[in-house]
Symmetry: C2
Amino acid sequence: MSEKEPSRVRRRNDPLDHSVLRKSERTRLAIINAALEFLSTHPFRDLTVAQLMSLAGTSRSAFYQYFEDLHDLMEKLLRGLEEDIFQVAAPWFQGDGDPIPMLEETMAGLVQLCYRQGSILRAVADAAPQDERLEHVWLEFLNDFDDAVTDRIEQHQASGLIEPFDARPVAIALNRMDASLLIHHFGRRPRSQQQPVREVIVRIWTSTLYPELSREGSVPAQSRSRRKAKPGK
Amino acid sequence: MSEKEPSRVRRRNDPLDHSVLRKSERTRLAIINAALEFLSTHPFRDLTVAQLMSLAGTSRSAFYQYFEDLHDLMEKLLRGLEEDIFQVAAPWFQGDGDPIPMLEETMAGLVQLCYRQGSILRAVADAAPQDERLEHVWLEFLNDFDDAVTDRIEQHQASGLIEPFDARPVAIALNRMDASLLIHHFGRRPRSQQQPVREVIVRIWTSTLYPELSREGSVPAQSRSRRKAKPGK
DNA sequence: AGTATAATCTGACGTCATGTCAGAAAAAGA
DNA sequence: TCTTTTTCTGACATGACGTCAGATTATACT
């Protein structure tokens, strides 16, 4: 998310009128915001540079001062998400203790995040196959997740929490499921409810990874609604 | 592949030489074959009408006599797959008896089919977000599967084979996983091996749908490759 | 503030793939 | 061989892209 600092703040007069930001930075943000707004209501295929820049309030050609092309813009948007996602996923990946509650927490966070940013995720996924470079970034993004999940499964296998099996294919499968599901449910309006999505993800992960643990204490696994999940504001 | 016959010989006596097919039909097939060949080695984004028609051996504009545009062509290709897929999936959907072997059979068939036709699947999935109509067809295709799986789960729930839970979200999740996975592993060259993919799909479906049944008889589920699985081909 | 300089913007241009159409060429039928 | 129908083709118009030189505006310094 954080690019470079506003850096040398040597404003002598009061650049505050124009906000502390450099012009270029303001324009860049205007473009990004226009894109976010547009993509929250339209599919990526309808986004053109002309459209976008008229929303952003400058001329079409100015776009190319900030991004190589639309796919480059999507890449930047993805990078923004990436951090948040890895951060919100931390509990299951790094916590210790009963893995199922950690899984639930991680997935709740993931679902909530994607509930808000799902349109970006969808836009990136839609755009990726059109551009070799973006596709590479997207696959790398997914692959990072595969690596992380594989590691975590192997750790839990080493400590006996998960029975031994080839971890990577399972990690890939679960991740692809998550991605497709999150995009499917939250990638366009109107969005699905969070709860059923959260529940089904947790159900499949736990029955796949922790079958013995999951057998108990969850009837149909309906009433497991946890803390009110602060409305997130 | 095939240029045009030495032709020049307009023998209307035996149209068999030019095959029994009408010219238009031969051209249509030439286009489709050129597309299949191209897509088995290149991503959809590199396919242009000009490229395609030069492979097919006729002029660019002739393309539009047969298809509205490239997305329409992709739709036709998808329709071709659709039948095969539903057919090969029959065992679990329609058979009766122990559900796990049926699942295994269905998934083996699915994996094998997609091993061969994966590039089409990928091309369609890649192309879908670019065209409203194709996207609709693709989503409908997935949705038909969701319906079928939901029904089957509910049947098995009614007969006590599967514990009660909201079937549709689970069906959706499992289907999206399958689709992503099949495209991921078989959508481009070099392709993954069939066995691990088949195994992981079966593992996740069974542990999700038939957790009690699956607990037994499968150690880590590695050594389940009893039969030599005739080398494919 | 006033001005020099650097940063940013803009319109015009060339490119490429698309989809259409009228006329040419070839196939089908007799 | 001739006629009719089908199929193909080149040329055109369109729309989005990405670039660039010159104009315009912001910024820094006195």
